[in-house]
């Protein structure tokens, strides 16, 4: 890792200007978990880390706080995964997010990792993370994973890069219909559906999100739960301590009169972006929960999947996780 300095500024405006002026050399640091990993791995050598934590006043409070408004919730970008997992006043309807935040990484990392940083972290692809391997995502001319070892890579929506999006909070937030609030670095903020924060590699294989340098993610906004909303999140890992998910399934639905409606299914770690499975939603919408129906929906969710030679296992794995999430959300016993 090379030497760098830490810059602490008091306002969003100064912070954003500082980064925008020195794009590439200067970067925002939130919790720093991913950023410092990248620096230690020799992928990047920024000269300045511009601290988001130093922003004060109302701006700072908004970045660090969580609050309710009209039944919905606003989670500041600096709220940590640990804080999200431990919140007692969040509606049960958002359970998918709380479980996901609480199962990501390790207790120590969750205490430092911020929600904003979690959504904007770079992929874990082992070619990307290898200093000497300059793949498409690093400006090279090919994806090494496609022909190489891609056991952890995408089965859906992939190409020309086969990464999976690394964030564990992204798929539950997509299922929960969240939006993100973005400061443009000058005067205005815009709020966009979370799906619009992420971009497929077909748009730009070198980037995973749509923020420009100097733009700052301010908060994540959860809409007021729909009537009788339930949500669930399921994940599977090779290692139970400190590992990344192999796949994840998040579900949101409304259970009224024994029937499911407003069904949202989002999958994680199977595509370069958090993946909305509309095929599954269509099968479930308006139906009475049953184990067979869940199997059918799970199969539909992966029907567009195009696994590579070494990651086909993610298809049945995703089926299992989605079935689990559906059973949990609806309360239908598994056996």
């Amino acid at each position: 890792m090379e030497r760098f300095s830490i810059v602490r500024l008091a306002t969003l405006k100064e912070t954003s200007a500082r980064v925008a002026e020195g794009a590439g050399e200067r970067v925002i640091r939130a919790g720093g978990i991913d950023l410092l990993d990248r620096m230690k791995e020799g992928l990047e050598a920024p000269t300045e880390l511009v601290e988001l934590q130093s922003i004060g006043g109302e701006e700072g409070t908004a970045l660090r706080g969580a609050s309710e408004k009209d039944g919905g919730w606003r989670l500041g970008a600096l709220v940590t995964l640990g804080q999200i997992a431990a919140m007692t006043d969040l509606p049960k309807a958002y359970r998918a997010l709380q479980v996901a935040a609480g199962e990501a990484a390790t207790p120590g990392i969750r205490n430092a990792a911020t929600l904003g940083g979690n959504l904007l972290q770079r992929p874990r692809c082992w070619y990307f993370r290898h200093q000497d391997m300059v793949c498409l995502k690093k400006g090279g001319d090919m994806c090494y994973a496609q022909t190489g070892d891609h056991r952890y890579h995408a089965i859906l929506g992939a190409g020309p890069s086969w990464i999976v999006h690394p964030s564990s909070t992204a798929s539950p937030l997509l299922a929960l219909d969240a939006s993100v609030e973005i400061w443009d670095g000058k005067a205005s903020t815009r709020t966009v559906p979370i799906a619009d924060l992420f971009a497929l590699p077909t748009v730009d294989p070198e980037r995973e999100h749509t923020l420009s340098p100097g733009e700052i993610l301010l908060s994540v906004q959860l809409p007021a739960p729909v009537a009788d909303q339930r949500s669930a999140y399921a994940t599977a890992k090779e290692k139970q301590s400190q590992d990344w998910p192999l796949a994840e399934a998040s579900v949101r639905l409304s259970m009224r009169g024994g029937k499911m409606s407003q069904v949202r299914v989002a999958l994680g770690h199977v595509a370069p972006i958090p993946w909305r499975a509309k095929e599954a939603e269509a099968i479930l919408e308006g139906k009475t929960p049953s184990a067979d129906l869940f199997v059918e929906a799970a199969k539909a969710a992966t029907s567009p999947a195009k696994p590579l030679a070494g990651n086909a296992y993610k298809v049945p794995l995703t089926h299992g996780l989605l079935r689990q999430a559906l059973h949990e959300a609806t309360g239908l016993a598994e056996a």
Partner: protein
Amino acid sequence: MATNKTPIKVGFAGALTTVKTELPEGEPVPWDADSKLVHVGKKVPRIDGHLKVSGKAKYTYDIHLPGMLWAAVLRCPHPAAKVVSVDVGPALKEPGVKAAIALAKAGDTLKFAGQDVAAVAAERPDQAHAALAAIAVKYKKLGYSVDVVSAAHPKAPVVHEGAVGERRTEGHVGEGGGGTLQGNVRPLPPSVRGDVDKAMAKAKPELTHAAVYTVPVQTHSALETHGLLVRWDGADRMTVWASTQSIFSVRDEMAATFGLDKDKVRVVTEFLGGGFGAKFGASAPGSGLGYIAGELAKQAKAPVKLMCTRADEHVCTGNRPDAIQQVKLAAKGKALLAIDVTSHGTAGVGTGAGVGRNAFGIYTKCPNVRVTSYDVFTNGGPGTAMRAPGHPQGAFAIELALDELAAKMGVDPLELRIDHDEHPLRVKQFERGGETFGWARKRAESAKMRAGNARIRHGYGVAASLWGDFGRASAAVATVSVKPNATIEVKNGVQDIGTGIVTVLAQVAAEVFRRPLSTVTVKYGDSEFGPSVGSGGSQTTSSVTPAIRNAAEQAKTQLTARAAELLGVGSAEEVTWDDEGTAHGGGKSMTFAQVCKKIEGEAIVATASRARTYGTAPMAFPGAPLPQIAGVQFAEVTVDTWTGVVRVPHVLALHDCGRIMNELTVRSQINGGVILGTSYALMEQRVMDNDFGRMLNPNLDCYKILGAEDTPAIDIELFDVYTGANSTGAAGIGEPATIPTAAAIACAVFDAIGAPVRSLPLTPNRVLAALGAYEAKEPPLPDHLRA
């Protein structure tokens, strides 16, 4: 003092016998089943425990000397390349750089990604690493193979031209020496009993089993990486702080490398952050660390510290070779008729990819056995000894194959094992473990879950261990002093790799004098403290404790002679010591302190070593006159059939290791062995990319090692064995404790889902394939690897 043919009570509870043993000259009567010991065998906490948990313990990594420089090594990025040119000149102009050396020269062939190319020393570690980029190297890339299947192909690029030098360490015991190299394939000496081919030909096809089992390369991944700090103390003398499990190999290597007298090289290892077999020299198996640090220090005229990066640690400091094992078994009725194992594995550019003695040495009632291992050279970092070299690999294949055969035979796997094992204690461990574990009841439950198609299935498996007491004669020389202030000092240059050997040495001295442990100090971890053994082959306790006891007994003899004088009795024979350490004779008594006060001069000092091994109870190791160490482990798994995730909630480990010297440290070793084995079973694997010929996971993120949440509840049952083999009766446990774990877990997964997962690690992709959840496209075993 011992006489010719001394009676010694040996064996284990329920099977004790008295044997008449001819003891070596000067050997005290060994502690046997009748010895009543007060310190040895007790649960004594580590005497250095508080230093470790408080952070006061200084590891090599923590040593900083004034004016010290930091080294960094430039490593070859290609799996095979010819060096066209190397120029370290530009690096010398980089900020902070004080020395730079080339480690490869034009014309050299580099054989794996990670091999040494050049090195620098600079004032700060970041400067050293940054300066590597300035070194100008031109390579001509060559053809390579990084996996066994392609390297073994007759047309594969050849890794080693001509004969291959054996690199063996104290961690490798027994086995070794290879046959003629053909391409990249070289046979190791086979182990043969009976006539396997004839037996196979006669067997009924429905009572045979043939399948292929694979295990990955595992890296040692010690928490403290390899490294050392070298300080020249003048032109012909140096002090070396090294993260090593063999202080004296470091000394010898540095002396040989720099043409110094051995006694002018001092090596210090006070604390060591793990070794597991890979830290036997000043250098790592795949990197000349000793030369690099010493030469840079010489050129820069300053102490130089060189610690491997985590990535280096994975690629050039050793590993446990992988194996592709073809196992063929045959039975007749309820009897095993034949075991035939053919294994191809790679230790990269190194040697020693055999699969150990499990298949040959445990189920010895099977009349026909043949185990043939082949080293397949690949363009990967060299393998080296790793905690029970070969054995976990071999155990996995034979034990899972036996369970598959047992299913065809309609025999309970535990019974099959009991029926074919001749080691009396291991049989007892199987039986006892079966009861404690609730084997019969649990296996019935798992069968029911299987039949009921439950999502979460439980499964139960059992596997066995086999190791030897490889304690070495004469290698360790211990000094024991008794001082006028009634304290006892034990001195030996052994390193404590983490086993707690230092505590055990103190216990042995305390035992001989019957003095409180607090009056004993141990000086260790320094070559100045007298020759000792490397911590490998599970031989440290067995090699060093007898030397300590023998020296202590001699010091006590001298002290007794002094007591006789003081008590005014004619001979030492008339003096007796009681359990409080008080001397009695001629109707008078003197406390230990009173006798010590009258010691003439500085201290009573005695020096002694360990005698040759002179017993083999309860059963000899296959093919060698030394005691065999047994051990059995039972594992419980859960398998989530929806996700393929395997978890291991419980392991029951039943072990023996001669006399239990300290129950706490023995348990700690077994815990570590089970954890390592579970990690091997569930997640560890080096992943090589074929297109780059490089490791994809040289970190601790994607190279996964068992974490707290993955660790099973470990129950341990210990069996004291009186081997009659040395003066303390100690044997070893570090290695036997890890041999059967992965095998037992794999057998349990087979029990849980009714389908074998024949490759480690048992990751969800493999489990889901075994469950038939998707069609896995595993290529068949190519012809060139078939037996």
